[in-house]
Symmetry: C2
Subunit: 78 residues, 2 copies
């Protein structure tokens, strides 16, 4: 068993209304030092030895991320 | 300017129906080697020098995570 993290974030050129709402809220709540926030997703996968890097890329690209608007990254943590 | 990542994941004892739905879909779609998936959130914050670690912890704990059901972690990336 190995653990893999897939990070999915909105592409830089895509507006992120959730992130902007958080920046606005932080400023009102007394944290003006935060100038930008982007919100994405984080998946933790438990995989067995049969899943290789190519298969992980395929899973991330085709199922976990929407590649039109999101960038993704696979990170093996164990 | 520095970049900080806040990772928010459902606590281990909390059911994660989104993650379970992904495991089911992966299995049906030909990826049986993935035995567990947990879905969480990932925030990228741009902060200026006035924001110290204590303030970051406060932001993560009080605004980005629901500490009843979620664990969170602050990671300085730059």
């Amino acid at each position: 068993m190995a653990r893999v993290v897939v990070e999915v974030m909105p592409k830089a050129e895509i507006l992120d209304p959730q992130g902007q709402a958080i920046v606005g809220a932080l400023s009102r709540l007394g944290f003006p030092g935060v100038s930008d926030v982007r919100q994405g997703k984080r998946f933790e996968l438990e995989i067995d030895g049969s899943v290789d890097d190519a298969e992980l890329e395929k899973i991330a690209e085709s199922l976990l991320a929407n590649t039109v608007i999101e960038d993704w990254k696979v990170v093996r943590v164990q």
